[in-house]
Homo-oligomer: 386 residues x 2
Amino acid sequence: MRPVAVVGIGKTAFGAFPDRDLRSLAVEAVTNALQDANVPAPEVHAFYLGNFAGPSFVGQNHLAPYIGSAAGFERIPCTRFEDACASSGSAFFHAWLSVSAGIYDCVVAAGVEKMTSQSTPRVTEILAGAGDMASEGRAGATFPALFGMIARRHMHQFGTTREQLAAVAVKNHGNGAKNPLAHMKKVITLEQALAGKPIAEPLTVYDCSLISDGAAAVVLVPLERARDLNPKYARVLAVAQTSDHVALDSKADITEFPAVKAAGEKAYEMARLGPQQIELAELHDCFTIAEIIASEDLGFVGKGEGGPFAQAGCTAIGGRIPINTSGGLKSKGHPVGATGVGQICDVVMQLRGEAGERQVARHRIGLAQNLGGSGATCVVSILEAA
Amino acid sequence: MRPVAVVGIGKTAFGAFPDRDLRSLAVEAVTNALQDANVPAPEVHAFYLGNFAGPSFVGQNHLAPYIGSAAGFERIPCTRFEDACASSGSAFFHAWLSVSAGIYDCVVAAGVEKMTSQSTPRVTEILAGAGDMASEGRAGATFPALFGMIARRHMHQFGTTREQLAAVAVKNHGNGAKNPLAHMKKVITLEQALAGKPIAEPLTVYDCSLISDGAAAVVLVPLERARDLNPKYARVLAVAQTSDHVALDSKADITEFPAVKAAGEKAYEMARLGPQQIELAELHDCFTIAEIIASEDLGFVGKGEGGPFAQAGCTAIGGRIPINTSGGLKSKGHPVGATGVGQICDVVMQLRGEAGERQVARHRIGLAQNLGGSGATCVVSILEAA
């Protein structure tokens, strides 16, 4: 296995774009990433596309060659990866593997989703397909309901409070408000977050991520080629993908995700470092409680300490470990299939020192964590500045 | 890259199974393949699952960990691959790459689809998502319509006849009737085939593949480990995946598929042999015309000669190159996501000499060709008997 670098990143804005189709969003992200990498499309050896539910959201399947051919790829393997909300995390994992193993010398990993053409109830139904429809779905358990149960149990077991959940929302909204590409640029107060409309108690609307359209792409090459292409490359220290049961009731303890812990451990081992060396992170805050649990499962804090840690400002820009400086899924937006690669782009922007108002002081090593469903898939990536 | 072998195969019957759910079909195939390979589930390093449209057919997404966890896989990467009707061909390609590149020492590639719970019009609509919905779909062009146009053009350009298309149907129905796992075990005459109900002229119901439920799985290991696990292993000489535009109107000539030609050329080069060395083949006969065109694009015959070749019996069991001894998608059935890996299983059965009544005399080298949409994805694999 040889070292690999991200030499190009490209993102569309995340938001609701009624006038844009899925393909044009994806092509924009891929084109931007190729331009950033100084790589022309015909030099790409394989295309890895993450998409959760294009067929359900916009009626279009077979998306990899559909987008790949429009982006200028000819005859190369174009493949769609689906692992729920970790779809493009998985695409990134396989893309990285292929370059690291010496199969290809230049690949593109991308993700896209167009969700806003469907009504919110229909979106909720489509998202429920990432859970176990035969048990959870049949019982009417949507994802807010599942994460509501998780939050309730975390509160019961560790004394996590509504204020601590709300602190995550306030932070991520504040960060997103400074991100030009974020879906919702709206600063909120703790009072507002606490008074949010209930969605699935104890979660309010401010605990839930957004329904968004958007795309993201990265270009991967062997490290030895990176400097010549783009001096602002980022080195990929580790990528780990893991799995678990899909149904929540198959889990021994719903306040932690074994797939996240396993992916974190694998990634730390591969990168030869520990959570204390991570200087910034993009965590999968599909719900505020998910960010808290991820900060525990990845070892940034001890089990049950995620709530107080967030409330104390330790995860804010300027805190001990800034989490979701992009605004996270909560405020940047969560076009499901684009989220995993989008997180990689956000980490790389920080590593490059290009995060503008949101730039963190220590930005040598960053981590991205992409979660599928209620923890059945996890992809953890660790990157280092050039 | 190191040589790789298929050490285990597992298939469910293909058919309409109202009492079976998608997961139980997939788990049956995976379990059978692991048993055949003498590999316990915990020794598998990664799971590659092909599925075209589980969310649309049965409302279940996130299928890779959903099935993987039920099959006994723990924490390993479980990923769904989607490339229309070539979904599990693509899963097989990536699985083979991973073992060949030395990333993993034991992986499972599988495919599954459960289609018959939807009405035929709804199935047709879901399948149309493998074409370009913004152009073809909007114009009402279903896949039978697209392949009807392809057939008409092939007739116009090369003099291909209705009798030649029907000859493919008669052969595949005859083969399928001898395949215990085939969906439709029904011998038909040329007269019946010619008098079939029109679906999209010139194609009748006998020119179209079936709507089926089913699953298939294979176990891949490095060649050096194969003999110890299962002396009936098959060596993978080549796998190539290619792509093209999705919309038919982007193609210069609709009587050939550049992605198929390119995949064939790559595979032959990798395997260091030519079409004349192939002793049997499973080709993607989603429509009879597709088998004829594939036999041309892969170089078994010259351009435009596929029709007469089939009519002369050259592709029958006992002919110059037996094609679709399994019965093909036409008669064995076409559970879309299962088809690619199913073809690999069928080729391996022939290489092992285990095809019963359908066994061909020369069975040292076999080829499988899996097509996505109207040629936007193609996977060609070449295997050799132990």
